[in-house]
Every structure is written in structure tokens, then in C-alpha cells.
Symmetry: C2
Subunit: 152 residues, 2 copies
């Protein structure tokens, strides 16, 4: 009897963290400053899009909001980001990069891109295209699932 597709998906999904591990493996943040992984990720996401509320970034980085406060505090202390009150919702703080923060963020982003490019270069062109499509599907699926969740 062949397994239900749901079960197959569950099985494959459980291997995703390992996939990420393989993809990330060997990448180093050789910035001039000491940053832990969460701080690095935060700067990378800020480099892609600044000015969102903290909760958005905490979700992207994959931390609970409690933990993310620590990360944000540390980045502020190091002078790489600022908490800015922009919206008319006074509970929210938009995060913005400082000038130094922008430099570091750019470095991290470039380093990550370079690392992935190197990884991906070990694959044949067809595999690269398939990987790209696969990743697009995952993101598309994620958005759809988030939408559905919100409707409840």
C-alpha cells in the first residue's frame, strides 16, 4: 500500500531543517564585528526591507518576541539599528539600520549570496532551475497557508 501524500509531505518536511543545514554549512559571517546568528539574520532582513515592526522581524528570524527583544537591544547597543516610532500605533517600533548598520548588513548579505552561489555551483543547471522553482513553490505555499490561517 502506498502512503498517503500527506504522510509523504510530513516525512519530507521533517527533513527540511537538515536541508537548510546542508545549504548553510560552511558559511561564516566574517564581519569586522562579533554578531551571533540571530543578529546577523536580523541585519540581513533589515537590509532587504527596513522599517517594519519588530514582530515581523522576529517571525522572519524565527525567534519568540521575547528573545527578539534581546537581539534588538543588542543591535541597538552596538549601534547598528534604531527603534523608531513612526506609525500612529504607539505600541509599534519600526526598526531602521544606522549608517554603520547598513555597511555591516550589506557585507552580511553579500557574504551569504556568495556562499549560496558557491554551493549552487556544485549543481547542474537543470538542478539549479528545479531548486529555484521548488523554493518558489514553498514560499507561495507559505503565503497561502498564512492567508488561510488568518481567515479563521
Amino acid at each position: 500500500m502506498s502512503k498517503l501524500i500527506e504522510v509523504k509531505i510530513a516525512e519530507l518536511a521533517s527533513m527540511l531543517p537538515m536541508f537548510i543545514g546542508v545549504l548553510i554549512d560552511g558559511s561564516e559571517m566574517d564581519t569586522s564585528v562579533k554578531l551571533n546568528v540571530s543578529e546577523g539574520k536580523t541585519l540581513m532582513f533589515l537590509h532587504k526591507h527596513e522599517g517594519d515592526p519588530m514582530t515581523d522581524y522576529s517571525r522572519k528570524v524565527g525567534l519568540s518576541k521575547g528573545s527578539f527583544t534581546t537581539v534588538a537591544d543588542s543591535l541597538v547597543k552596538k549601534g547598528f539599528i534604531k527603534r523608531v516610532s513612526v506609525s500612529n500605533d504607539r505600541r509599534k517600533y519600526a526598526l531602521m539600520l544606522t549608517d554603520i548598520g547598513k555597511d555591516i548588513a550589506k557585507q552580511i548579505d553579500a557574504g551569504f549570496n556568495k556562499h549560496i552561489a558557491k554551493k549552487v555551483s556544485q549543481l547542474e543547471e537543470e538542478d539549479i532551475n528545479n531548486l529555484h522553482k521548488a523554493l518558489e513553490i514553498m514560499v507561495y505555499t507559505m503565503d497561502k497557508l498564512k492567508e488561510r490561517e488568518d481567515q479563521i
Copy 2:
């Protein structure tokens, strides 16, 4: 100018942790015993395949070997797994489930499958099939990358 495919892949890959988050969100290990997430994952992987050396499981669970020692110790202490010396390499310990461990592992696996099935049921059939294919590509790609890495 359109971005290089490598850069697009890097960008999409950075969203994978969030994808996993959305997929896992809402799942709870309602076993009769208190287990942390890493312990649960470990039992789940053991349920799928027993008898591998510790380092294999640490990679699957996504922990450093140092941290995994803690997890294994705790599972041994709770009576769910055993360290068995089977191979002729005397540094290696194969992990095996105890009888109680098997029960718990089966519960966790069933719970996870059920959770994923519920998530996936929010999608249309076409999306489900695409997701399945996408996940297969990721695993295929991971294996290929691991192979290439080993050749160096």
C-alpha cells in the same frame, strides 16, 4: 536588470525557516511525558530509522554534537532510548528505542502526521501536489550537495 538565479535562490532560501515555522505552527506534542522539541524530534527520527550513530541523529535534529549528547542523555535517563555498541568502530554508539520509547515515538510520529495533514488540507489539490514535488526536489538537491561535498 534581473537578478542572478543564485541571488534569487539565496533570497528564497532565507525564507525557509519561516516556511517551516508556518508549517509547524500549532502542532503540539501531547504525549503523556514531558519532552522538549529536540527530544521529540530525536524519537521521531528513531521511529523512522533506528540504530544509526549519534552524529547522524544530531544532524537530522539540527544540533551540534555537544548539545545532542545532552538530549541523548536525557532520553536514556527517561528510559526511551539505549546507547548500543554495535559497530566495530568502538567510538560509535548506535541509538535504539526501548519498548516504552517505541510507544512514545509512534505517538509523536502519528501526531505530527495528523498535524501536517490538517495543515495541508487547507490547500487545493494542485497546490498539495506541487508542494510534494517541491519537497522531493529539496531532498534530492540536499543529497546531491552532500555527495559533492564528500568528494572534496
